[in-house]
Subunit: 713 residues, 2 copies
């Protein structure tokens, strides 16, 4: 299966060759000519040049490789899975080649560079097919990271083997009746002193591990979470284990039952499986013993005394990927919005009497439906790059002796709060972008060949895994409320290591502010990023205050903590987490990108417009709160926000195609008859339909059926 891939990336190739110019003659050219900036410069603002080279290099390789050719017919579940797996392995070569290319040019990766590269590869691969991306991510990332996180020196061999793909791993945490509430997992690992083994056991089907990706058909090792019992019958809470589950012939080992979960809404190249243990005997070394171990005599010993903390430590390692998901969902949405905007610039429908029909992108409706979503993709794409840097800073901090454990804990808490809010908000932005893009393409958007269906079906899963979106928002608001009611709020805000809550320092003063018009032309007040960010900071403070009051009110009425938390969610804590992260994303986008003097002026002008469009559209949705809370009054704020959105979208029309050019993957990856960069929609549509196998064939079955029916007319 493993073939040599010849071509290698030439790191000295001019960027113009990596990102070649688009066709100058197609129907999109008229819009490309209107734009105020260079799309290639925009592309290199969105991504590091290195990232651009890596992803475009990989895409080129994939395009040349028959294994990656798009199938004209639907594959069966089994075919889809095997083909996905082959791609994961083939990709391994491509990556190796790339690295060699890199090394030839003496480009040894820094730890950060290596991580950037991995993120880029994951994204580039996901834009081709999310099943390939996720399978690879679990084999090479999640599994070894999970073992690294909880394991000790003796487990290094698993990590090494996994990273060379000599071991295929899966993560088996979720059980049939417990996903979100991890603490309640019921799989048991009881230590048997006589055998010197852990006896893994699944009490019933409801405790079966499930949803584990790669488990259904592929994995020979599993990282599992189970409740550790000592022979005295005491439970020491959840612990991680690395467990061999299949032999070389891929038969489940004795005591293990494994099944495939079958067809899903999407991601069908991925084999999610379920698994039950029947008094399965695991070598003692299978326990990942960083946070606790069992002596040969069966006594539990742990460096961490508090079981709660032990539990947190065991889950902490798995919270990083949420940041990754922000980038992945934006990459998914970027494809959809690129298809919809390019198609809208080509598709003509209606026009003024006697004139040629207009491309539908000329209509206010189409602009205002699509451009705020495009702006959202830009904001969250840049935000996800920034998040990645914060994460990296955090990871490096552990090697920095100047940073105390306490400081690290504060950093960790802030990152956790940010990621718990960013993943859902980005996920829903992506969901809505994909759906609106589908609808914006009218009937032809419903064709499979339009390429939007797969984005919806696969992308949907991101709303649920790595933490259900709605539950994550609760975690984010818990953190925010903790800060809010803490007597050291001012101090915490000041030290906010990533700056997400610095503005809480003068929250009381902020809450007293009202929006006042300052410019002579009042509409223009809402064209100031500062005004939007101020309104947002008021919003966050207002919701913190009202949520916290709500919570205390319920407590005061005699309810317990659990009830008070649950009963202050909707319209309170939930909205709080959403506005918190919208504010932070806008803040980052403005300060680090749109207002960053390292970026050229004309690029920044467009980024500013995007910031305004996304910011105002979000504020518009929160107008009810801004009014009810007294920050806004009178008809003007609502009216000017709306008028500005409409006006800005109108102005963005000239930029939209180039913005999409800078965001979209290559045509091969985009894989849409409506969204190709040459704008030849009808030619591609014709090819797509006519090349479908059986397009012109008649249905034999139907000929038979129809014989008995037809009357002579």
């Amino acid at each position: 299966m493993v073939k040599e891939i010849e071509s290698e990336i030439d790191w000295s190739e001019p960027l113009e060759n990596v990102l070649p110019d688009f066709s100058k003659s197609g129907p999109l050219d008229v819009y490309r000519k209107q734009c105020s900036f260079n799309w290639r410069e925009m592309a290199s603002t969105l991504d590091d040049e290195e990232a651009i080279r890596i992803k475009n290099g990989l895409w080129k390789k994939m395009e040349q490789d028959p294994l990656f050719a798009h199938s004209p017919v639907d594959l069966s579940l089994e075919e889809h899975r095997i083909s996905t797996l082959k791609k994961v392995f083939r990709f391994q070569d491509a990556v190796a080649t790339l690295e060699r290319g890199g090394e030839t040019l003496s480009r040894p990766y820094s730890p950060r560079g290596r991580t950037v590269k991995n993120v880029e590869i994951a994204t580039a691969l996901g834009q081709y097919d999310w099943s390939v991306c996720l399978r690879r991510g679990i084999l090479l990332g999640f599994f070894p990271n999970a073992v690294r996180g909880l394991g000790t020196e003796k487990h290094r061999k698993y990590i090494n083997a996994a990273e060379k793909l000599q071991l295929t791993g899966c993560i088996a945490m979720t059980e049939i009746s417990h996903g979100t509430n991890t603490k309640a997992f019921r799989t048991r690992a009881t230590f048997d002193t006589r055998k010197q083994k852990f006896i893994l056991h699944t009490p019933d089907f409801e405790a079966a591990k499930c949803w584990s990706a790669n488990l259904g058909k592929t994995a020979n090792y599993a990282y599992i979470l189970a409740q550790l019992y000592t022979p005295d019958g005491e439970c020491h809470g959840l612990h991680g284990f690395v467990v061999p589950i299949r032999d070389k012939q891929m038969n489940p080992l004795p005591g293990v039952t494994i099944g495939d979960m079958g067809a899903k809404i999407g991601l069908n190249g991925l084999d999610n499986g379920f698994m039950m243990f029947d008094n399965y005997e695991l070598d003692i070394e299978g326990l990942l013993d960083k946070t606790g171990t069992v002596t040969p005599e069966g006594t539990y010993i742990s460096p961490i005394k508090d079981t709660k903390k032990r539990f947190s430590a065991s889950l902490g390692v798995l919270s990083g990927p949420r940041f990754g998901i922000v980038g992945l969902v934006v990459a998914n949405a970027s494809i959809a919005i690129s298809i919809a905007i390019r198609y809208s610039a080509v598709r003509r429908q209606f026009g003024p009497d006697g004139s040629p029909e207009l491309p539908v992108i000329e209509y206010q409706m189409q602009q205002c439906r699509l451009f705020p979503l495009l702006a959202g993709c830009y904001v969250f794409k840049c935000f996800s790059r920034y998040l990645f840097d914060t994460l990296f800073e955090f990871i490096l901090s552990q090697f920095n002796p100047d940073i105390s454990a306490e400081e690290r804990a504060v950093m960790g808490a802030e990152l956790h709060g940010i990621s718990a809010a960013a993943k859902p908000v980005a996920g829903w932005l992506a969901r809505d972008t994909v759906q609106e893009s589908r609808e914006a393409c009218g009937g032809h958007g419903y064709l499979k060949a339009a390429g939007i269906g797969r984005l919806r079906d696969d992308g949907d899963s991101f709303l649920t895994f790595e933490g259900d979106n709605n539950v994550l928002l609760q975690q984010a608001s818990n953190w925010l409320l903790n800060v809010w009611v803490n007597t050291k709020r001012e101090e915490m805000a000041t030290s906010s290591p990533f700056g997400a809550i610095k503005f809480l320092k003068n929250a009381d003063a902020r809450l007293k502010k009202k929006f006042v018009f300052k410019s002579r032309e009042p509409r223009e007040d809402f064209l100031q990023p500062g005004a939007i960010l101020k309104a947002y900071k008021w919003l966050v403070c207002y919701l913190l205050k009202s949520t916290s009051e709500k919570f205390q009110g319920i407590q005061a009425s005699g309810e317990d903590n659990f009830t008070a938390k649950n009963d202050s969610q909707f319209y309170h804590a939930r909205t709080l987490s959403i506005v918190f992260v919208e504010n932070y994303a806008l803040d980052v986008f403005w300060h680090k990108f749109a207002n960053n003097e390292d970026i050229s002026w004309n690029i920044r002008l467009v980024l500013k417009k995007l910031m305004l469009i996304y910011g105002l559209s979000c504020l518009e949705r929160h107008a009810g709160i801004l009014y009810a809370g007294g920050y806004f009054s009178g008809p003007k704020p609502g009216r000017y926000i709306r008028e500005n959105i409409i006006q800005l979208c109108k102005e963005l029309k000239a930029e939209a195609i180039s913005l999409v050019d800078a965001l979209a993957p290559t045509d091969f990856i985009l894989n849409s008859c409506l969204g190709a960069s040459d704008g030849q929609v009808y030619k591609h549509l014709e090819n797509a339909m006519k090349q479908t196998p059986g397009c012109f064939e008649k249905s034999k079955d139907w000929v038979d059926i129809s014989k008995s029916l037809y009357s002579k007319l």
Copy 2:
């Protein structure tokens, strides 16, 4: 293929047998016991008893018939289509049997009864599989109706044959480059006096007919729209033609090229096709000549002088189905919400310390995510029944000599405006309901066996066909604005035959009103349906006024009508159409159902709660406008609306399962391992997974690949 179906409906069977009680021992029982009403009584409030018998009768027959057994594996495109078609034909028998059953009991259908029956059958069938419903609808409904609408006596034979399924028809209007802008279709029908034939010709691929359902593989006749040309080269606008397109062997006739459009996002049991004519010769009788004809000498004659009107007449016949779609999308959403709510009552996750975990339906978050959507389904289900009656009244009016043509025109315009707003708003409600239901089921909701994926994929198409949702909203607002600026507005409002715009009579007075609290407990003011309806009427008037001012402002600045229309859409005309129909639906739901004294008190109490929940949730979304326009001021209105929604949802928890029981189809039709009425989620989940073919089989391909990989650990 056609088998006898033995069992027949027994019209005298007690309703208790048709809608048998649910299991009393399952996990849903605790909630069933809490509710304040009888679910069977609710079911007969939602549907006529006759409708209940019909749909349950059909569902039972389907369940007994192996042809309708749910396939455990995905069918290929070809298999899916043939199986769908077989079901359409089998269904024909079932319907016949039912009718016989009806007649035995001397239940001759009235015209209304017959239509109710057809609507019920379509819905019942669609809930099983939307492809079956739509294929049947086109064969037996759309096609003959289209011919009836534009044809004359000589075309009756086509209608008769179609209704007996001795002819398989399709509707071919849409072209590759024109869908919404029907006027611009480019297929030509040129009369040739020598041959006494119409020469049908497709100038290029962009003018190919496409998307035509049943065309890909099945149809032997097409209803097409083409531009009629007389030999003198003059174009007389769009006309309908009935055109034989395939011979008995299902080969396209000479001069016709037909292709299948291939895989789609959903509805893959339906064979959408494309078609081109190459100087195809059509007998003169093929012209549907109600609105115009050509003499043998080639002169065009028409009873309607104005080409514009002629065009409208030719499209009018096709606007009825939009009302039908309101019912269909609600039926689709009802399945999703039933699955999500039942699952939420069984799925336990977290709980207060030391107590058993709580079903997630106990959480405010889950309640407030799902119940407003459930309420929306109830409101729109009842609304669609009412719409059906208005449509029927309109149809009957043509036989009523007391109703003048002018009066009919007013009725027609109002119905068109209502349907153009109702179809999109119901469609998006359904879309959001399906999506939220998917997310509310967490990971297991992502399984195909959960049954929500098909609802999303098939249901998505409703947003586009029978008029793109966004374009339809423009048509609705055009009508409303016409009424608004008309000097006879008062008169028009007074005569509003269906009452949708009666309240415009005193619009000026309404616009001066502000919301004032009246009760001693101000929160309670928002528990009055009257208060919600008043706020809504203010909203509609406010948006009418501001949209109309916006429009006139643009005109005054020198822009033409076309531009002024387009530039007053977003946040104006579009929102106007939405609030208009939300108001009307709530109005109808309140006056004809929740406040209808023919309905028993305890049922009405629950309906009132649903009205409040849906109404307040919608108002909450419009709070920004209500504040900006000055109808609301201060923090209280916003706050009380939100608090009421939360409180009402909490109260509805006790009713939710029974509300769903009254709404959901039978378990066989629901076809979800998460949503079965016995609540045995984990048992069904286990069966679904274990019964998937290949669940426990290993992948041979993978065994081969893996051999070369594994190192010894």
